[in-house]
Symmetry: C2
């Protein structure tokens, strides 16, 4: 039984536990997680004991060549085929996940009598296991190594975009499929924009350099941020950097099975606030990372989740002085029974 | 007035024509089209005379530095702020576009009394104008040139993935930001899967090579497919290739202002069917291309759209012999008053 078949069975067990008869899934991400087949335009229906995939003709041979534990067919109307199957198989309580559906699709399911049920696949996805962990670790190692290689190559005059491209190239050469998001390379005042769009700006003498990047390796996303000063840092940069560094360490120290996600945020936030920069830490502390660059759980002031062994999350506090510079330090870490493993090293 | 401000005014004019008071938009694509600011997590509200953007604190400075024709603010709850503004400004008929919303967001708007209205921004986006056209042309030229460069470098033993990566590198070196989708490189039987996932398969002697690729240049996507035979083609490949080639030419010949999109599909489909391969052409003929790799209009048997000057579409018939090889030939073309301009050349 491969990992996808195992996950499908995990979902079927959850359906039974929750007294649901079936779930319909139409987003490629969850479909890929459960079947290993990722392609726009098909619909997956999972009951407690079976699974069906309805797809356009052009995907059918391809699907069958990759997945042998799901019944695949190519009906005229995919959506109506789901409705018929639900009826014919007597699946009374069929649900969809509201957080993964488009508006039009979800509205259609509602009209057909299906109901909303949240979080089952997100819960399965948040707990990494087996080969997933080694793949994620490798994805993070690639990113961390790319930073060590590129740092000495970032010289005065190089543009943000050229650095971003070289990071992508370096990670691809190490086996990554591509970047895990639009990489952020910010020089000088650009580093103060948490979601800066990497530009053709050249690096000046004596400027902050912020690199927020990661790759997709065998489907899994890594996420890392490093900030440093190119040239001679002034006292203000040094001070801000050391505050963020200590805040990030305090956050990482909080991570472990049983810890509240909000406590990790609090550890970072309190440290920055105590140092007098609370108003400049303008985002949450972290997020889960895996098949998506942002997934469950979230780590911010409002988080209700408890961390569990097997979750992978980022810890990434920052201080942003608009018009001057910003400092963010981020690691992806794996939650362990006791403490955590820093993956981006 | 920059192009974004002009588009916002175009949308405001449409709102007036359709007797709507306002539209709420939450997808980055449409927001970027209308403001020039593309970032997850903000909400745009456009009335007939004004526009407001509600966003997290961390985006506010960044937004204001780029967009001066939209009122930006950072309320505690973005969604509730939209609702309050709609109420305070007396915007009675406020709509959202069902085809661009997530299920949860759309459901929220419905609950607040907003209603569905389709196709306004898709209509604006489908008609390319001014600098958009030269950007799109450049995006397509980069892709076409990359093919000419890479073709002689595709030798026996090279893997699909290495070719895909080199295509990306070549296009980036010509100014592209990145690939416009997961590039498809298929060797031998892999070419018979219309949505093949590029793999580590090496090229054998005497095999079909199919490259379906494109880039994003200054935000605009190009899309091109080329198929050829590496080595000595047999009679079957030669026959299938010449059928697809003639079908594609027949389709391109149909493109022009006033033509029915379905007639372009019909021209390709009839040619392939007449040659006895109708059952192996298992997808539609084309789609609009622009900010998205797939956008309005669609060109298939069921299309209702009429082509208009300024639209950019693909024409991409194919024949797929599962287990053997596939041939697809695709160009992106710009619809003109008379005929069209082939962009991917």
């Amino acid at each position: 039984m491969n990992i996808h078949e195992k996950r499908l069975k995990d979902l079927q067990r959850l359906l039974k536990n929750e007294k649901l008869d079936a779930m319909v899934l139409s987003r490629p991400l969850e479909q890929d997680f459960l079947t290993g087949f990722r392609m726009d335009g098909y619909v997956l229906l999972v009951s407690r004991t079976e699974a069906w995939a309805f797809m356009p003709k052009m995907l059918l041979d391809h699907f069958r060549s990759k997945v042998d534990f799901v019944n695949a067919s190519s009906p005229d109307s995919l959506l109506e085929a789901v409705v018929s199957k639900v009826k014919d198989a007597g699946l009374k309580k069929t649900v969809f996940e509201p957080e993964t559906e488009t508006y039009l699709r979800g509205r259609f399911w509602l009209e057909k009598g299906f109901s909303e049920f949240r979080g089952l696949t997100a819960g399965l996805r948040s707990m990494k296991e087996g080969e997933e962990i080694s793949i994620l670790r490798k994805s993070c190692h690639i990113a961390a190594r790319a930073f060590r290689i590129i740092k000495p190559r970032i010289k005065t005059g190089r543009t943000e975009l050229s650095v971003s491209r070289e990071l992508e190239d370096l990670m691809q050469a190490m086996g990554a499929k591509g970047p895990s998001f639009n990489l952020i390379v910010g020089f000088g005042p650009d580093s103060a924009l948490p979601h800066h769009e990497t530009s053709a700006r050249p690096l000046g003498k004596n400027e902050a350099v912020l690199l927020d990047f990661g790759c997709v390796y065998d489907g899994y996303c890594s996420d890392i941020t490093r900030t440093y000063f190119h040239g001679r840092p002034d006292a203000e940069f040094k001070k801000v950097y050391s505050i963020v560094e200590a805040a990030q360490k305090a956050g990482v120290k909080k991570v472990g099975a049983g810890a509240a996600a909000s406590d990790v945020d609090k550890a970072c936030r309190d440290h920055i606030a105590d140092a007098g920069f609370g108003q400049y830490f303008i985002h949450g502390t972290g997020h889960g990372v895996g098949l998506e660059i942002h997934e469950a759980p979230t780590l911010n002031t409002k988080s209700k989740e408890t961390l569990r062994a097997g979750m992978a999350v980022t810890v990434e506090p920052g201080i942003y002085l608009y018009g001057k510079f910003g400092v963010r330090i981020e690691d992806s870490v794996l939650v362990k029974k006791n403490g955590c493993e820093i993956l981006t090293k």
